[in-house]
């Protein structure tokens, strides 16, 4: 009823909106909460209970999400339930969320939905979303304020109707170790326009082995600047415009929110829809995607990063808990033996009993548990009503409701015990194993692609299993206890699931246990390799480096043997010069650019002069070549014979002319580096070198060009004379050009004597 009123109010608000755009902000904010992750990462637990109802620090996950939505000012939430929908709906109905003022929770139920895309299509059909909405999954923990992100979204929307989505991102350390150890996810690459914050590229499955990612070159061409980030974390909180729903309906193949929808929008430039990002800094947001992130987020909650959603604040009808020294949270009516040691960062639920000499640290213990004496619990998550008998050892495990561990049982790191499993006396459960009362389903969807395609069959099957399990639970337990006695020790009940998907490889990544030492070193080695790659190959991207689409940046860096900086320097100067010629850049600007290059490569001005001269001569060679070729193609074949015969002669004349032109045009540039005689000599030497090696075309013209240079006041007679003097004692082969310009030199000498 309240909802109807609300909708009427919303309609009224919408009517008002048309008159006053500022009223837009007052329109009640809606949210879609997907109470199903459409993945299988939490199996076997999720076969019996939906993921959103799994306790996170003794509070079902969905409560964190709902509490945040309520605090963030969302007025109406549509909870989309799929797997185990009845459990979710029952839970919500009995919770206080249905009786909140100014906050309506409504459930949408469907059984044959297999992906987030389908869910959104269904919601679109129901026509309940009227304005911007928050799209979130029911396993997200956050305490961020939506106000700013929402406002930015609305303002963008006002300016540009195609800005349909704002994605919340968060900074994290770019190291793959941290990413792996913190949330158990792969590295995420995003290209973001630093000015508009538009998301241009999103890749969460980059190829690590190559250490490369591929960007569409159009991205570089179209955007003046983009930042490529690998230090951002996707919070899986999106602010969407209503168009998003219709987009899902139009593209019926969109299944996954990120893999299909986001990437689809980024690639599809026909519609021109844009996605923007909003970065949060101090507030917290994280999604529980796998067991590892379950562990991490639990610990973040205990360390109060999610304040006010912490155990000692009653944000959603959780029991009163007191925070004691060293991060110990204790509910009421705990029976604890005097000799029991409860360490730091531990949560102990209501009515739990702890026996003597037991040690508990970094763990969460649920309500009504009974823990015997001499038990060791470390970094584990023990849910409600678990019985742990004397002498058990639990390290980094998850133990679900109603599990019984007989005396002396040991759980190795990474073990997950699903509901009501019984572990026999002194039985050691091997690391990373998953134990459930239900048998492992035969349909594996180990492959990521299959996960979405095949989930339909999977879900149906699970639900049927679920049904039978619920009805004939007792029967099944007795059955399985007989069939699998040896598997879980004497009196043990349950099946150990075989580890299939990728074996150990996958398991350690997503388990609650800390990453083993050897895997860590492997990871860090991989990281070091990456870094070496970066240093070797200059084109590789430094972390979140800014890419500027500049023509000369890409040139000349691919020389494998970087023996000498001067080679690079010369190439850079040449590229700069050529660009200047092409684009008609002013001489002053070129001088500036060359100067900056000189500083960055730590060169002398003589080097500059040489390099500039070198590039000028190169240009001079290039120009006649092209014109000669143009000539050849222009004229019909009989003439071409003539032309090719005449080529050397023609060329030398043309070349001289060209050189003279270029020198005239760019003499200012050259002169700015000719501060002293030494630089002028350097030019002559350079020219000589060119004539001998790289540009033999000039060799017949050496004396003439020297003359031109002299005429243009680029070279002074002192320099030429000194060069000639230096060459006096050289080998015959070196004297070729001195001799060639002998006349000129002689003339110069005479002129100077006359002056004297």
């Amino acid at each position: 009823m309240g909802a109807q009123k609300k909708r009427a109010a919303a309609a009224a608000a919408a009517a008002r909106v048309s008159e006053d755009p500022d009223d837009l902000a007052r329109q009640p904010l809606q949210a879609i909460l997907l109470a199903d992750s459409f993945t299988t990462k939490f199996r076997p637990i999720t076969l019996e209970r939906p993921k959103v109802l799994l306790p996170l620090v003794n509070v079902p996950m969905i409560n964190y999400t709902l509490a945040w939505l309520e605090a963030a000012g969302v007025a109406e939430v549509f909870v989309f339930c799929c797997a185990h929908s009845k459990q979710v709906i029952d839970y919500l109905e009995n919770s206080e969320w249905f009786s909140q003022p100014n906050f309506t929770v409504k459930t949408i139920e469907s059984h044959n939905i297999i992906s987030a895309g389908d869910a959104l299509r269904l919601i679109y059909e129901q026509n309940v979303i009227h304005g911007d909405f928050v799209l979130i999954s029911g396993d997200t923990v956050s305490n961020m304020s939506l106000t700013q992100a929402l406002q930015e979204h609305k303002e963008r929307k006002k300016k540009d109707n195609n800005a349909v989505m704002t994605m919340i991102i968060k900074k994290s350390k770019p190291s793959p170790i941290t990413r792996q150890s913190r949330l158990g996810t792969d590295e995420l690459f995003m290209a973001i326009d630093p000015n508009t914050k538009q998301l241009l590229y999103y890749e969460d499955k980059a190829d690590h082995s190559k250490g490369t990612i591929c960007l569409d070159k159009m991205l570089l061409a179209e955007n003046p600047s983009i930042s490529l980030h690998n230090d951002k974390q996707d919070c899986y909180i999106d602010i969407c415009s209503p168009e998003v729903l219709s987009l899902f309906t139009d593209n019926f193949d969109y299944q996954h929110l990120r893999r299909h929808f986001v990437k689809g929008l980024l690639l599809d430039d026909i519609m021109g829809y844009k996605i923007f990002t909003h970065e949060i800094h101090s507030s917290y947001a994280a999604r529980i995607d796998n067991y590892r992130s379950y562990d991490i987020v639990s610990k973040d909650i205990i360390q109060r990063w999610t304040y006010p959603y912490v155990p000692d604040v009653k944000f959603c009808g959780n029991r009163a808990t007191k925070l004691e020294r060293r991060g110990m949270y204790r509910a009421l009516e705990i029976e604890q033996s005097r000799s029991a040691q409860v360490g730091s960062f531990t949560v102990i639920g209501y009515g739990t009993k702890i026996g003597s000499n037991s040690k508990i640290s970094d763990s969460v213990i649920g309500e009504g548990c009974t823990i015997g004496s001499n038990v060791l619990i470390e970094g584990s998550y023990i849910w409600d009503n678990v019985i742990i008998e004397d002498g058990c050892e639990l390290r980094h495990v998850i133990v679900c409701d109603g599990v019984i561990m007989k005396a002396g049982a040991v759980l190795k790191p990474g073990v997950v015990l699903s509901f009501k499993v019984v572990i026999g006396e002194r039985f050691v459960v091997p690391a990373y194993s998953k134990v459930s009362l239900l048998q492992q389903p035969t349909v594996h969807d180990s492959d990521e692609e299959l996960e979405y395609a095949d989930n339909s069959s999977g879900t149906v099957e699970f639900s049927s299993i679920q049904g039978t399990a619920d009805q004939s639970n007792g029967e099944m337990t007795s059955e399985s206890s007989e069939a699998h006695k040896p598997k879980l020790g004497t009196g043990g009940v349950g099946y150990i699931w075989s580890i299939c998907e990728g074996g150990q490889e996958e398991e350690w990544r997503h388990s609650v246990a800390p990453i083993p030492e050897d895997k860590l070193t492997e990871l860090s080695e991989a990281m070091d390799d990456d870094q070496e790659l970066v240093t070797q190959d200059r084109t590789a991207l430094s972390t979140s480096g800014e890419l500027i689409s500049d023509s000369n940046a890409s040139e000349g860096d691919d020389n494998e043997d970087s023996k000498d900086d001067s080679v690079y320097f010369e190439k850079e100067v040449e590229a700069t010069f050529l660009r200047a010629v092409e684009e008609n850049v002013k001489v002053d600007h070129v001088i500036l650019e060359v100067n900056s290059l000189r500083l960055s490569y730590n060169m002398t001005s003589a080097d500059c002069a040489g390099a500039v001269f070198y590039s000028m001569m190169k240009l001079a060679i290039k120009t006649p070549h092209s014109s000669a070729i143009g000539l050849l193609t222009l004229y019909p074949s009989p003439f071409s014979m003539v032309a090719s015969n005449a080529y050397p002669i023609y060329l030398s004349g043309e070349l001289q002319q060209n050189t003279a032109n270029i020198i005239t045009t760019w003499q200012k540039l050259l002169k700015s580096y000719l501060l002293e005689i030494d630089e002028e000599i350097e030019i002559i030497l350079k020219f000589e070198e060119m004539c001998l090696e790289s540009a033999k075309e000039f060799s017949p013209l050496f004396a003439r060009i020297l003359h031109i240079l002299y005429d243009k006041d680029i070279l002074q007679e002192d320099a030429i004379l000194r060069w000639a003097d230096e060459k006096e004692g050289a080998d015959e082969s070196d004297k070729v050009f001195v001799r060639q310009s002998e006349k000129f030199i002689q003339w110069l000498r005479e002129a100077s004597e006359e002056e004297d």
């Binding site: 968060k170 350390k173 101090s282 360390q303 109060r304 990063w305």
Partner: protein
């Protein structure tokens, strides 16, 4: 009742989610909520006071449990309970006491009218209550027989005698609820105007060319300083920024906007600057019965610095911040640990928060307490809306506002559950 239930739930939610900032707002809203609870409460013919007390207690329990850190909630619940008891008492004593007592109260009523001529006629009845109460304590030494008579009747008159006499005073008993509501209105008024009342005393404490130091931001302090400024006092203010929330920055901004010469310093510079300071004036989160202060974190440091240099350490606190509990009481939650993100950016330190490697527990712990406890010996003076008081006098002041029977509201709440 359903209406009040909705209101109560709404308020409970706000408290639980820490949506209400500041003790003044909390206190005011608590009082308003309790007023509506009282007005909605159907009173039985007999033992009206008992019914009201039970109703208020039932709601109060929930409110206190919702946010045990915000002591103002409990204070106001207890104040309201006290008001009910006093109203009941005054009606009973008026009925029983007859002429001799009414003569006394009439005299005092006259005095009161002279003093508070601005009060409306409707509030006069409530004013009569307030005059009945303070003299009983202030004139304790001079006028023992009266005060001795009052507690006696209170113990018996509240319950047993009230029942026996209720038939006689049916007309009066209907008045009880009305009187209580009037008194609660007056309480709300007090809470709303506490800043002004405290600020009125500013000129007595801030003198020409003095240097005042304060930490963080408090509205009471702000108004206090403004009041002195408006009275043409020229003085300078040092504001310690109050890490990690840096509310001192806001305070500095507002002070500058009003034309006060302000210097912003870091918290760690307090000791260096304190020798130039003439007086430290700070706000408080709560004032405990022993005269100790619960104040924003960093206050103890300032108080110790002030003591070292013999600078007066003055605490401004509205009467709603006076808490009848003692800080060593385990029922009192003295502190709240806030999010570490106020100290450092999560992204920057995400590699230190690595639980996935090594032993599974991170080496870095970030602790961000919201409050400090300043022991009474470090406080020179309390300025409340009723004037300046010594820390050692606090218990008397608290006895004025609270009745001893209500101090354990919370314990009964947990036992009741």
């Amino acid at each position: 009742m359903p209406d009040t239930q909705v209101l109560v739930n709404d308020f409970l939610n706000k408290l639980k989610k820490r949506k209400i900032e500041g003790s003044q707002a909390t206190a005011r809203q608590t009082a308003e909520l309790l007023r509506s609870v009282i007005s909605q409460q159907r009173v039985p013919y007999t033992n009206q006071a008992g019914a009201l007390i039970d109703a208020v207690k039932a709601v109060g329990e929930q409110l206190i449990a919702a946010n045990p850190v915000e002591l103002a909630v409990g204070n106001i619940v207890r104040r309201v309970l006290h008001i009910i008891r006093e109203e009941d008492l005054s009606l009973t004593t008026a009925a029983i006491g007859g002429l001799n007592l009414s003569a006394v109260s009439d005299d005092e009523n006259d005095d009161d009218r002279d003093g508070d001529s601005t009060l409306s006629a409707a509030a006069v009845a409530a004013a009569a209550r307030s005059t009945l109460r303070p003299p009983s304590l202030q004139t304790l030494l001079e006028d023992t027989p009266v005060s001795a008579a009052v507690p006696q009747t209170s113990s018996s008159g509240g319950d047993s005698e009230g029942k026996s006499k209720s038939a006689d005073k049916s007309s009066r008993s209907r008045k009880l609820k009305h009187d209580v509501i009037e008194a609660v209105n007056e309480l709300i008024q007090d809470i709303v105007t506490c800043h002004e009342q405290i600020a009125e005393q500013a000129v007595e404490h801030i003198h020409q060319n003095e240097v005042i130091l304060t930490l963080g931001s408090s509205r009471t302090v702000l108004e206090f300083l403004f009041a002195a400024k408006e009275k043409k006092r020229s003085f300078r203010v040092f504001v310690a920024e109050g890490a990690p929330r840096y509310q001192g920055h806001l305070l500095a901004k507002e002070l500058v906007a009003r034309g006060l010469q302000t210097t912003l310093i870091t918290d760690s510079a307090v000791f260096a600057m304190i020798s130039r300071v003439n007086m430290v004036i700070v706000g408080a989160h709560a004032v405990m019965a022993n005269g100790g202060v619960i104040a924003p974190v960093g206050m103890n440091l300032v108080a110790l610095a002030a003591q070292k240099h013999a600078v007066p350490f003055v605490v401004l606190a509205g009467s709603h911040k006076l808490c009848p509990l003692y800080p060593h009481n385990p029922e009192v939650l003295l502190n709240e640990l806030r999010s570490p993100s106020e100290l450092l950016d999560f992204g920057e330190f995400s590699d230190c928060m690595d639980f996935g490697s090594g032993s599974g527990s991170p080496l870095l712990h970030v602790v961000n307490p919201a409050f400090d406890y300043v022991p009474p010996k470090l406080v020179s003076l309390f300025i409340t809306d009723t004037g300046g008081h010594n820390p050692s006098y606090m218990y008397r002041l608290i006895a004025d506002y609270y009745s001893a029977d209500d101090l354990v509201v919370q314990r009964r709440a947990t036992a009741g559950n």
